[in-house]
């Protein structure tokens, strides 16, 4: 840090409550989480939309669960799974002496798990709205299901999928409860913007809380605007 004069000015204006590190960490965590969510979410959406198998609705329910569960409950389950004494976490800890909890990885995982349902829902709806005739036409031309998905279905569903990306980004950026449970609230390490707001308010630093809240609000409003613009227009492939 330091160096550029504008940066120190910004820091002075924002005060001591770690706004800049929180802002940087939030963007980084959200970016990584969104990338993971886009890949995983699209894969889940493909499987849920195109494959008929036993337990399909169960998979849908499990993936969607974080949307309806209190985030702290989701965070609790993540600890049970990934914590040092967790189902998977204990195995990793015994082997490597490393635990994901209280690292930025944990913040990424929490944000990704919370954002995944939005991506899966949007992408699945977008994929299912593509007229299956296009896929059949592609099959008659000798193309496999996977090639058809990438070259026909995905481009035709791109609006809805992009809307899912925007929503996931916004959700990941605002993640609080599960992050607090799994990653803690360590300034400069796992303290993202929503956590920094909480701490600022508790400490009575109203101005810092205000600035952070405004930044997050601006991002969310932009996300909603973009999503509406992308999904409101005439959709291809209907």
């Amino acid at each position: 840090m330091g160096g550029a004069p504008w940066k120190s000015m910004v820091l002075r204006a924002f005060g001591a409550y770690m706004i800049w590190p929180a802002f940087k960490l939030s963007l980084f965590v959200t970016f990584v989480a969104t990338c993971v969510v886009v890949l995983l979410g699209t894969a889940f959406a493909f499987v849920l939309a195109k494959r008929k198998f036993r337990g399909r609705e169960l998979l849908d329910a499990v993936v969607t669960l974080p949307l309806v569960l209190p985030p702290t409950v989701t965070g609790y389950y993540l600890i049970v799974l990934l914590g040092r004494r967790g189902v998977i976490g204990s195995y990793v800890y015994e082997r490597t002496g490393w635990s994901v909890t209280f690292t930025w990885w944990a913040a990424v995982i929490a944000a990704a798990v919370m954002a995944l349902p939005l991506m899966v829902k949007s992408a699945r709806a977008a994929i299912e709205s593509v007229n299956p005739q296009y896929e059949i036409a592609s099959y008659t031309l000798g193309k496999s299901e996977l090639e058809t998905f990438f070259r026909i279905t995905l481009p035709l569903a791109s609006r809805g999928i992009f809307a899912g990306v925007v929503l996931s980004f916004a959700r990941a950026l605002g993640e609080f409860g599960a992050t607090l449970m799994l990653a803690g609230n360590i300034p400069g390490k796992t303290q993202t913007m929503p956590l920094a707001i909480y701490e600022a308010v508790v400490a009575g630093a109203d101005r810092q809380a205000q600035i952070l809240a405004l930044v997050l609000t601006a991002v969310s409003v932009t996300a909603i605007y973009l999503t509406n613009k992308l999904t409101g227009g005439r959709t291809q492939g209907m």
Partner: protein, 254 residues
């Protein structure tokens, strides 16, 4: 030689409908009329074979069964030495492996690809060369568009094409996949009357130039006479007549 001998229950049987009627009333009128048993046996050799019948006679289902889009309950479908479907031995070749060119009633051109890209998409990668280069595919696509007289539309997107142009692109795309047979499902029904006559002549000419057998579904007698070499008349899921267009239409008018 295409040999088809299939049976399939179409639509919902009346018993099942009774339960459904209370919940969904809208579509059931249609469904109950369409519910019938398809039970057909026919052959199609070279040239243009017409599957003729009123809507709901089962002709489109036959075509889709040949393509592998729908699966018959039982029977056997083969083209030359290749077995497509055989319920007795459990054979059901996937759509991709049947090498059929399918021309849809409403074109079904990929909206995000230009006419040329639509055709190029259909070009099958040959097994030994590991696929043609992009330039070679483009050239082949241009040739096929030229064959149908629409290379001028190569860079246009489907939404910019007229019905007649769209159907030419669709036929070019079907031919691009190097099909063993071309299946056409009422290809002229979405085209205006003026274009219809010209397009019909072009389909006929294309068949003769490529010498690929065409199986052509229609309910229009004029098309039967104009383009058919052999006609199979379907009614309520059964073959009721077959023969040359003249033989069939003579009986029809009596």
């Amino acid at each position: 030689m295409l040999r088809v001998s299939i049976r399939k229950q179409i639509g919902t049987s009346r018993k099942q409908l009774g339960a459904e009627r209370q919940t969904r009333s809208g579509n059931n009128e249609r469904e109950s009329r369409q519910a019938f048993r398809l039970d057909v046996e026919f052959m199609a050799a070279s040239g243009v074979t017409i599957l003729f019948g009123h809507s709901g006679s089962g002709k489109t289902t036959c075509l889709r069964a040949v393509a592998g889009i729908v699966t018959p309950d039982e029977g056997r479908i083969s083209l030359d030495e290749r077995l497509y479907f055989d319920s007795a031995s459990g054979v059901n070749l996937p759509i991709q492996q049947r090498r059929v060119g399918f021309v849809f009633q409403d074109y079904v051109l990929f909206p995000h690809l230009t006419a040329e890209q639509n055709v190029a998409y259909g070009i099958r990668a040959s097994e030994n060369s590991g696929g043609l280069s992009k330039a070679a595919k483009r050239e082949r696509a241009r040739e096929l568009l030229a064959l149908l007289g629409i290379e001028y539309a190569a860079r246009q997107y489907p939404r910019e094409l007229s019905g007649g142009e769209s159907q030419r692109v669709a036929l070019a795309r079907a031919l691009a996949s190097d099909p063993a047979i071309v299946l056409l499902d009422e290809p002229l029904s979405a085209v205006d009357a003026k274009t219809r006559a010209r397009l019909l002549a072009e389909i006929r000419a294309t068949q003769q130039r490529t010498d690929i057998p065409f199986l052509y579904v229609t309910h229009n007698v004029a098309e039967v006479v104009e383009i058919g070499d052999h006609v199979i008349v379907l009614d309520e899921g059964r073959v009721i007549r077959q023969g040359s267009p003249r033989e069939v239409t003579l009986v029809q008018s009596e």
